[in-house]
């Protein structure tokens, strides 16, 4: 009921922030690429090419399957983490989130270490590699955090007494969850699912490194056309196909997102008792084993110096062996990554926060349009975007092609959808009576927002900030195009090590990856602590 949603005066003005940002740094660059290369015949050729048809179908198919599998793996863990409070919950949260930021090259190498011919699971599961199985496993691995965090955040706000009431009426734990809680978190679930879908739809590194030579997604194909064939015509046509597919998927997802029932907004987690402990262990044990094994392999290999353990690789990180002008000490790579991530988070919160605020209170059409606008960049190839930056932002005063700021801006484009998707459900679930009460007591519309909505949504904002930060820390595809060689991020530094043979290079890549994991885990654990601490405030 839109009557419940007081309009914010000046919201039109606020809307210019996301519109200008997405317009300048997404619509314009991508439109430039398409305008340079697109011809009607080009699109028809792409649509008629059997190989490209297979590529498009495989892209769609693997994204859909990856999304379903990710939900299946993440849902039990999300439920357990939302329902129960236990020692080490913050650590578990951090461990679940770390895979999300690891560079693909590192995860691929860890998967190979586990599943490869010399790995412990190489016998029974070695057949997965390379191929579709490995692609799907890696996609689930990367994206469990997206579903787990988004859904757990929503579940945490569902009153557990509802489920308990259902159970006292004879429903099993699963039925109670399925019939009571699941419908209530459906919007969050659909939001997370559409993000996972877009992420895997535009999968690049995973498909290149684990898929074998016969598997290509539209993203891989665009890169091939640009980097090897200089065929902007085909690349632009593919970019259009990708864009249309992404918009269509988002529109469908938007229709599936039901209205949200107002819920009580407080942390419903409690300590597990009796048999619940076993349930908790049974759920979290396998999930964590799946997520942590590759991390542990990477960490182990960073200290495995051949015939013993040592810190050789970490020491090597800090010494410039070849006196290269591009040598980057690890603290500089960490500083670059953290700085970029902080800026990207700030931009994403600003752009995404305003969009979320507008989307949550405006009528459905406006809110869908805004949501769509912010979501589409997530479903666009990093190559298209990087190319667009170089082609579009090339004239003074906007000759930004070698400006360092493009890196956090590109990261913010990818992170803003998370902010919107996490904050909108939180804002919508605020009981409108609270706002009415504030208004009755004489608060102005702006005051109502600041006094009611902002504090109640702040937890969701923190979750979103954590995601934005993590996305920026791990982003690789766009960064490779945009980062200046003297200012690499941690994933770029890792990639550089893997460009040359030699045990020291591999070891340093593992050491830098371990540092990246530690930085991420520290940030996420810090946010968890802060989040837990703020719960009591309202």
């Amino acid at each position: 009921m839109d009557r419940d949603r007081p309009r914010l005066s000046g919201s039109g003005l606020l809307a210019t922030v996301p519109l200008a940002f997405v317009g300048l740094f997404f619509v314009w660059p991508v439109a430039t690429v398409i305008a340079e290369g697109l011809t009607g015949a080009g699109v028809l050729e792409v649509l008629g090419d059997r190989r490209l048809q297979r590529v498009a179908w495989f892209t769609l198919w693997q994204a859909a399957v990856s999304t379903v599998l990710t939900i299946a793996v993440a849902l039990p863990g999300a439920w357990a983490l939302a329902r129960f409070r236990f020692r080490g919950r913050a650590v578990v949260w951090a461990l679940i989130t770390v895979p999300f930021v690891l560079p693909t090259v590192v995860v691929a190498s860890a998967f190979v270490a586990v599943l490869g011919p010399r790995g412990p699971l190489g016998g029974p599961l070695g057949g997965l590699l390379p191929g579709v199985g490995a692609i799907l496993a890696a996609h689930v691995y990367f994206n469990v955090a997206v579903v787990a965090r988004t859904v757990a955040n929503a579940l945490g706000q569902v009153d557990p007494q509802l489920e308990e009431a259902a159970r006292s009426l004879g429903a099993s734990r699963w039925t109670a969850f399925r019939e009571v809680s699941l419908p209530l978190v459906r919007p969050a679930l659909v939001a997370a699912a559409s993000i996972v879908f877009l992420f895997t739809f535009t999968s690049f590194g995973v498909v290149l490194l684990l898929g074998g030579p016969r598997r290509a997604t539209i993203d891989v194909e665009i890169w091939r056309q640009v980097a090897y064939f200089l065929d902007l015509r085909t690349a632009a046509a593919l970019a259009v196909v990708q864009l249309v597919a992404v918009v269509a998927c988002l529109v469908v997802a938007g229709r599936m997102q039901a209205r949200v029932v107002p819920r009580r907004a407080r942390d419903a987690a409690r300590r597990p008792v009796g048999a619940e402990r076993a349930v908790l262990a049974a759920i979290l044990g396998p999930t964590l084993a799946f997520l942590v094994t590759p991390l542990a392999v990477v960490a182990y290999r960073s200290v495995d110096v051949g015939g013993g353990l040592g810190l050789t690789f970490y020491r090597a990180l800090g010494t410039s062996r070849r006196g290269s002008s591009l040598f980057v000490p690890p603290e500089a790579a960490i500083r670059n990554s953290v700085t970029y991530a902080a800026i990207a988070t700030a931009i994403a919160l600003l752009v995404g926060g305003i969009t979320a605020g507008l989307a949550a209170y405006r009528d459905r059409r406006t809110s869908r349009l805004l949501d769509l606008l912010v979501m589409v960049p997530l479903g666009t190839s990093a190559v298209t975007l990087g190319l667009g930056f170089l082609l579009a932002l090339d004239e003074p005063p906007l000759d930004l092609r070698t400006w360092w700021g493009l890196v956090p801006i590109a990261h913010a484009l990818i992170a803003a959808p998370f902010v919107v998707r996490i904050v909108v459900p939180a804002l919508r679930s605020i009981d409108p009576r609270l706002r009415e009460a504030a208004a009755v007591l004489g608060a102005s519309p702006v005051r109502v927002r600041l006094a009611v909505d902002v504090p109640l949504a702040s937890r969701a904002v923190l979750v979103a900030a954590g995601f934005a930060f993590a996305i920026s820390l791990g982003e690789f595809g766009a960064t490779l195009f945009l980062a200046r060689p003297d200012n690499p991020t941690m994933p770029i530094a890792i990639f550089r090590f893997l460009g040359q043979p030699g045990p020291l290079n591999l070891g340093q890549a593992m050491a830098m990856s371990t540092l990246l994991m530690l930085v991420t885990a520290t940030v996420i654990a810090g946010i968890e602590r802060f989040r837990a601490g703020s719960v009591g405030a309202f």
Binding site: G212, P213, A227, T339, R496, G502
Partner: protein
């Protein structure tokens, strides 16, 4: 309120970042800053670059965008409004594409007289050869105590079944170089049969070099189970240099008869406002100090004659007297068709 403190923190970080991002622009004072556009494997040592700046008063800023293919194509797409003044990293595979795009200003460096003439592929001197290297099959010494196979023909022999890893020429530049090598060796009508025999011999195709070497190769730092991989003639010295402690012998070796030549060129980008300085930078890249610096930085070899190589290269790098090569114009005309044919035969 906590949110406020958070925002203040974010703002502070933003300001700090803005401060540290800007400090390295513009160079010092009145000196010109040249932008060197290149791929992400480019490297030079600090002291060498500083020596150039000290001598000429020209500062150099390095701009990299993607791998060799991507960097060149982006420069071609940006031709009207170039990203920089000098481009480094066109190889002979894509040379004709760059020349046809009229990307470069002519410059005959005086130092070109010291370059082995076989590397000078453009008589008009729009590009200047800077380094060369060879793409060759590497082998794991531990698998072949009695000596490895030698020729392309040997690799298709049933005794080598399931042992070779190559890269997809459509996604990898060493993969493309290796395909071109087989075409140079077997001829336009013979290479297809050899690749068919290789497929029957269970060849493994990786997407890129990293995957092929680190995931599938068993030698050196590779973690796979195949003892033969397409890599570089300089990979064995890298296995020694990037090891601690350094072994006396490289754990891998090179099949010299499978080596195909890769030459990298530099050129002055059309539209530069600093043409004179750009000429000086190209000349500097042919100077003994830069040429001698390249092997340890980029694992490529000098094109200027009489440059001493680092001892690790002397000890462990393969000497390839006559690498395979194809005419760049032939490559340019046929490249896409060859890749399609290869895809049909090997991946079809």
């Amino acid at each position: 309120m906590k949110v406020k403190r958070w925002l203040a923190g974010a703002l502070a970080l933003l300001l700090v970042a803005a401060g540290c991002g800007d400090d390295d622009d513009g160079g010092d004072g009145d000196g010109v800053t040249l932008r060197l556009v290149t791929h992400d494997s480019f490297a030079v040592s600090d002291e060498v670059l500083e020596a150039f700046t000290a001598e000429s008063g020209i500062a150099v800023e390095i701009v990299a965008s993607g791998d060799a293919g991507a960097a060149l194509n982006l420069s071609i797409l940006n031709r009207e409004n170039p990203l920089g003044d000098v481009f480094f990293g066109v190889d002979n595979t894509f040379l004709t594409r760059a020349l046809d795009a009229d990307l470069f200003v002519r410059h005959r460096s005086p130092a070109i007289d010291d370059v082995d003439p076989r590397f000078v592929l453009d008589d008009e001197h729009r590009v200047t050869p800077i380094d060369h290297g060879e793409v060759c099959v590497n082998f794991d010494r531990s698998t072949y105590p009695d000596g490895p196979p030698a020729t392309f023909e040997d690799l298709a022999d049933p005794t080598e079944r399931g042992r070779l890893v190559v890269q997809n020429p459509a996604t990898s530049s060493p993969g493309l170089a290796f395909l071109l090598g087989t075409i140079a060796h077997f001829g336009e009508d013979g290479w297809q049969d050899w690749w068919r025999a290789l497929v029957a011999n269970d060849v493994l195709v990786a997407t890129g070099w990293e995957e092929a070497y680190y995931q599938h190769f068993s030698g050196g730092s590779g973690e796979g189970d195949r003892p033969l991989v397409v890599s570089y003639a300089t990979s064995p010295p890298a296995e020694v240099i990037f090891a601690e402690p350094q072994p006396d012998d490289a754990p891998t070796g090179v099949l010299v008869d499978t080596c195909v030549e890769q030459i990298e060129f530099a050129g002055i980008l059309q539209g530069t406002e600093h043409e004179d300085e750009a000429r000086q930078l190209i000349d500097f890249m042919l100077s003994p100090v830069f040429q001698a610096d390249m092997p340890m930085q980029m694992f490529v070899l000098p094109v200027v004659e009489g440059i001493d190589l680092p001892e690790e290269f002397v000890a462990h790098a393969a000497v390839v007297p006559e690498p395979l090569r194809l005419d760049p114009a032939d490559i340019d005309v046929n490249r896409d068709r060859w890749i399609d044919e290869w895809t049909e035969i090997v991946l079809g």
